[in-house]
Symmetry: D3
Amino acid sequence: MFTDLPEPQLREYRSAVTDPEDFDAFWDATLAATRAFDLGLVVEPVDAGLSTIDVFDVTFNGYGGQPVKAWLRVPASATGPLPAIVQFVGYGGGRGHALEDLLWASAGYAHFQMDTRGQGSGWTLGATADPEGSGPQSPGFLTRGIDSRETYYYRRVFTDAVRAIEAARSLDSIDASRVSVLGGSQGGGIALAAAALVPDVAALVAFVPFLCDLPRAAVVTDNEPYKELGRYLAVHRDSTARVFDVLRYFDGVNFARRVTAPAWFSAALMDPTCPPSTVFGAFHNLTGEKHIEVWPFNAHEGGGTFDQALALEFIGEVVARTR
Amino acid sequence: MFTDLPEPQLREYRSAVTDPEDFDAFWDATLAATRAFDLGLVVEPVDAGLSTIDVFDVTFNGYGGQPVKAWLRVPASATGPLPAIVQFVGYGGGRGHALEDLLWASAGYAHFQMDTRGQGSGWTLGATADPEGSGPQSPGFLTRGIDSRETYYYRRVFTDAVRAIEAARSLDSIDASRVSVLGGSQGGGIALAAAALVPDVAALVAFVPFLCDLPRAAVVTDNEPYKELGRYLAVHRDSTARVFDVLRYFDGVNFARRVTAPAWFSAALMDPTCPPSTVFGAFHNLTGEKHIEVWPFNAHEGGGTFDQALALEFIGEVVARTR
Amino acid sequence: MFTDLPEPQLREYRSAVTDPEDFDAFWDATLAATRAFDLGLVVEPVDAGLSTIDVFDVTFNGYGGQPVKAWLRVPASATGPLPAIVQFVGYGGGRGHALEDLLWASAGYAHFQMDTRGQGSGWTLGATADPEGSGPQSPGFLTRGIDSRETYYYRRVFTDAVRAIEAARSLDSIDASRVSVLGGSQGGGIALAAAALVPDVAALVAFVPFLCDLPRAAVVTDNEPYKELGRYLAVHRDSTARVFDVLRYFDGVNFARRVTAPAWFSAALMDPTCPPSTVFGAFHNLTGEKHIEVWPFNAHEGGGTFDQALALEFIGEVVARTR
Amino acid sequence: MFTDLPEPQLREYRSAVTDPEDFDAFWDATLAATRAFDLGLVVEPVDAGLSTIDVFDVTFNGYGGQPVKAWLRVPASATGPLPAIVQFVGYGGGRGHALEDLLWASAGYAHFQMDTRGQGSGWTLGATADPEGSGPQSPGFLTRGIDSRETYYYRRVFTDAVRAIEAARSLDSIDASRVSVLGGSQGGGIALAAAALVPDVAALVAFVPFLCDLPRAAVVTDNEPYKELGRYLAVHRDSTARVFDVLRYFDGVNFARRVTAPAWFSAALMDPTCPPSTVFGAFHNLTGEKHIEVWPFNAHEGGGTFDQALALEFIGEVVARTR
Amino acid sequence: MFTDLPEPQLREYRSAVTDPEDFDAFWDATLAATRAFDLGLVVEPVDAGLSTIDVFDVTFNGYGGQPVKAWLRVPASATGPLPAIVQFVGYGGGRGHALEDLLWASAGYAHFQMDTRGQGSGWTLGATADPEGSGPQSPGFLTRGIDSRETYYYRRVFTDAVRAIEAARSLDSIDASRVSVLGGSQGGGIALAAAALVPDVAALVAFVPFLCDLPRAAVVTDNEPYKELGRYLAVHRDSTARVFDVLRYFDGVNFARRVTAPAWFSAALMDPTCPPSTVFGAFHNLTGEKHIEVWPFNAHEGGGTFDQALALEFIGEVVARTR
Amino acid sequence: MFTDLPEPQLREYRSAVTDPEDFDAFWDATLAATRAFDLGLVVEPVDAGLSTIDVFDVTFNGYGGQPVKAWLRVPASATGPLPAIVQFVGYGGGRGHALEDLLWASAGYAHFQMDTRGQGSGWTLGATADPEGSGPQSPGFLTRGIDSRETYYYRRVFTDAVRAIEAARSLDSIDASRVSVLGGSQGGGIALAAAALVPDVAALVAFVPFLCDLPRAAVVTDNEPYKELGRYLAVHRDSTARVFDVLRYFDGVNFARRVTAPAWFSAALMDPTCPPSTVFGAFHNLTGEKHIEVWPFNAHEGGGTFDQALALEFIGEVVARTR
């Protein structure tokens, strides 16, 4: 059944999340502090047993100069710089196994798949530590460091994402002017933040994105991982105002205001994990070229491979323009 | 938690399923009847948007000469006949989207992925009808046509699988002497049957296979889809003996006795869907070269990509011998 | 808790399902094709061990001349033609055991209980095959053959129902002018269709009917069996328009427009299986004499025996008029 | 899946419940005290709208002279005293609606269906009060008055059952020498107790009986209503010994030792409500003619109508002997 | 997620429960009848092993002169009459263990904790019988005796509560002019009734109170124990009007109209057990000094210790005024 | 139902966890490193609004000199050094609210309740950060830092616990020779570790302790939080040996070998969270004076207040000896 508003109301819905005055200053300072560290990019070939794709084990320095892992997959036959897709991963997963996610490289892109720090023990393997601790938190990542915007977990993750784009762009095999960002669920939320913080990416693709319209997300679903937030606030009863003030600096609704690249979103009307109103809450704030694909009968899987096929078309077309 | 016996007991466990005297006669007659129909193989290129893999939409005539769909994926750069992997799909799914399951072709194999008749509406798309009806049945496929061995649903599916192998072998791009069969869950059960019915396949790979040791499966788990059987027998209270007699002709335990190709199995100790004892029930009846990988902390996902990586190694090694 | 709209809004709600221009032509052709086959009625006495009721095992030819089973139960003391009740069964069940459902014959009616083809393995026994196959479908019956109106499962079931009425009417023990149709849940949906296709039945009784207002049913509940539809559409993402176009020919909302017999419905405000708005969606389209009983605190059991007692009163009164 | 021991172990299993020395004295005194009250039998015809069965609303004085309701259903054509079936009802239900449970009268028996005091609000209607209060108890009936054997709820219910048999036997329409007792689940447990307390009943039928082997029942299932016991003991941590001492006077295991009538039991191997070992615990203590029907694939529904059909055969045969 | 209306709508919502003309007459007569029995107060010291608090085992005669247990906890160092808090307990629990609930005495109050008759087997121990029986009822206490206002279970409980206040006030150690009533969930509902029936209590504290706005509670949640009501009405289909007429005499909405003491309530927006609209339904009817604390992210635990801390402040301030 | 072995088998069961040779060396080095930091104890009075108990907000430096919070509660009337109870908290909780857990101080003990770093957002408030990060981990705390024994989360927590005892002992109000450790679930596991690492504590009390017999715990229950371990190992498929080697340094089974203080344990036979065999696994390794209380009908609540009352008796008796 529909888990949220029907589509006509979604088209009208607008998020109530406001934009902090010092949002850009906060992020400028954050990125500047991390850019003071060397990128430290290391790219090592991996014998994954594939014949059509070359796989590389990538390490670069993310937030605070802390090492972050990634996979780089490139068509084996590639010559010359390729358009690239930097992918971010869904909640709980990591960059996974070298043999996973072969689609994007098979389609002719350099595929740079960033690990998510501290995650990667839920459904796909991760290999990146989150060396920062946390105040009291709910099990999970959504309330890690939520005491302040400086210590919040996603400050580190979004900074990693910016550095991942910079790492990808620095590679000879990649055409820096044709680097797109893409992800589903948490990966979509990270891609959205990254596209705001690196406005000249070629394209943004966010499948059923997480991390959008957080005050609404916290009260319209009981599903994990948004429920982590409600669980925290049920105990930290006097911290609601503080927590939502911190979250304004990390809400896709505010990142969306800053995206200028062409954007392709999807939302699913039976999604209890990332309720479609929260996705529309971010989508409506995009000011550039944009599209949202609505899947009426799907839950959080959204369009699945159909989403991917449409994203390939979209990126192909955007990248063709910039060639 | 463990859903079945602990590993040392699994190593000792033996299935009580007996081998019908006319098992081979039944299957010989079944296959002969279908082979009376032309294979009717049609292979049409598909523009899937990939650069490293060529995808073909395949149709061939399966059981009773009825059309069955498949995908053929071949490395774009391939020249000369390739070793092939014929893959069968898990319960409820179909051959899926052209963009899915790129691993095997990326690893250099011709990948022939057979659709499962009537299924393909549960998690991946199917495109093949099952034109045969059924007596009273539980929702699902496990009790379709269970009134007799002649009408049982899997008689048609296993025959389709044999014809899929024959179709693959008939292709110029495929080296008929190096065709392996592979699948997970229901796909593993079909692969096991196919390797028994086509004993000269190069190798058999069955991840956490379904359709094994059925009388035990029916009483040691409440999970779908084995529960379909229990649900049927709860209503058809006087049909138990008849049903289990029919199922002897379709049980992996009996197919395993007939497999001669090298075989690679996996089982998961926390799997409530295909309890590991049922997998061992079949595995112990294999008489040739065999290996079983046991995943102690996994449920029905088994080894996941780890299973696939190990299977690639195994097939690679087997195929290398036959070169 | 209420699972749908509160009663005042149910009274106002109108379904958005539209009436296909060729609805009647489709059904005229369908029935004509089946009527080309002989009815082939066979009625055999059964020794059920009862002293007040005689039970007969009935076979007649339904859709496509395919055999359909039924029970006929008649008061043992009956002389002369009786008013009759043709009953259809809920989803998953069959005509059941000879000893079940003794109410209607005990109340003095000839009780003709039709089996539902292919079902009868979920909670009561069935004995009728559905010899037609299907394209890819969800486990169950709601998406069987949904590729086209010609192949859709309920085309066959509704045609069987028409033939069941004709079979009942052809019996000497039954007064053809006083044959009512009745059923609960799926049985109510079949009764509604039958009363539209055989407009001169004496009365229509539908307890919490299924198969009404299908596009709404697919999005306002997650309960089986309506969920089969959503599950199918979640995979067959590009088939939504086609599927709902097919379903217009089978929707109780459209059959209701064509019913002229007095009708008695029930709906339950806590019913998650057949949400009351879908029942009202059909009910409001009835143009003749009609009544709907609303059970505020019941789930899908509706009024249970209270519904049956009220239906007995209603049918008794209607039949008395026609005597 | 099997919810308890496999059948061979059930055949060997013996209950550890011991027989209190003063068991018979306790029950003799209990029945004597109630028999001091007049039976107060009132039988009033009801217009249930049936033509083959006459229904009567019965009131008699049960435990402590407190009024208990019942239905009496008799074939409309009956002349002369009939063999009778006194039926007791499952947990939570009551005697139900006059139109329910027509099987036994339709088969030619006088059917005397006793209400269960205080119950009848869970799935069928009850009309009998339990005017006695209780010490602290879990919601439900299994721990009502469990402080002592004198105040325990089932002391009253079993006494009602004895009086129901006496009431039935006192009716002209019933042949007192051919009165059997029957019930399913709680009804089976009551029938078992009644057959022990009124040893000259013609036959005992207990479908998947409740109230047997209570110390084991309390630890081998989490299903209601046995769970009421565990919930009580989880709070009344120092009452375990006392509670199980009280329950010895009400355990089917001890009543079974005293039954002399021919007995027919059923048990279901997938029954989580009345686990089959608890049924066998009582069954093995029967010392006379006995049969147990085992349903391997059924849960608490047991054999359903199949059980009833077999019970009709069994009672028919037993009653034929005594004619 | 929010389980009921959002806060702005809760502020506007008004209950539809009406006030019976003879509400006060009914309760006056009820209390008068009980007051005809002696209070029979017995207070016995208990060696609970505490050094800062003295614990007493209390018995007094409640409804119908029936004995009711309580704990009295007093600061060990106390001299002279203390302000008191009479506490009532949540559904299923009893007065508990002597060592539980030490907060109120530790804060300097005489703490009189009343047992709830018949309960005390669900999560804390009870020691008080409910010697009155019941007509047919759902398992639990909410429909016990619901046949009439005279026999309804809460008539007895609320009368016990009045007598508990009178018992507390009669103690030398307690200052009768400074006795407050307090409770959570069912305890809050009892406190509310008690504050209406004993209007000169010093203060009323009700955390997430139960037993308010019952017709709405019965249809807006499926959680226990309100569901007991719906389950009863689902079977007693023709008793809805009678049941809701009886409940008007016990609904917090009507008691609230009669409270004159300062009142402190809490409600939780994610509470599925006592949905916040039902709490507001009562709260809005309070006519005196009142406050409601709203916990947006909490379920039925409400403010927990935060509620208690705020209640201590509130009672402290109210009691200070009256000193 | 029983969730694990029956009691006689629990009495025989012995854990297979082995004792690492360098276990003591590891812990000696760990504690030495932390003791290099100043204890930094700060004790500040809190106005909690209580009259019988004085509450203090405590901060001390735990593992790595990182600040840890605690509450100190002392009877208001206390003079001279008191026996003390150092309490550790269950999983997910923190030291809670100043008004909680008044029992131990009310019984005359100085009650020192340590916060658990990073937790305190699940059911009671925490106020202590865990400033150390982690490699990839499951949501929660059980796999945080599980890459090595040096980085494992409980290395820090157990060190905090040792420092908490040292902090308590350093207070004038506490008699250092009469300090006991106590906790339930995770708190019991921490108390067990602390009693091994500080062998001269007066007594050890562990209610249904967590963190015992971890390899067995990981496969005999699916409940949180032990499931965190299984979830991690299901993804990190090649880390099983490494993980269980790390866990040997933190397993209660090994700490138990080193405890010399009198010990009081409880276990519950229906506990799915800390299955009783894992508790017995540790208990059987205790070599000194010991008792285990077994609750047959309880789940993870164990004996609840009954456990506390027995623990008070036990500690009282032990402390009396040492006076």
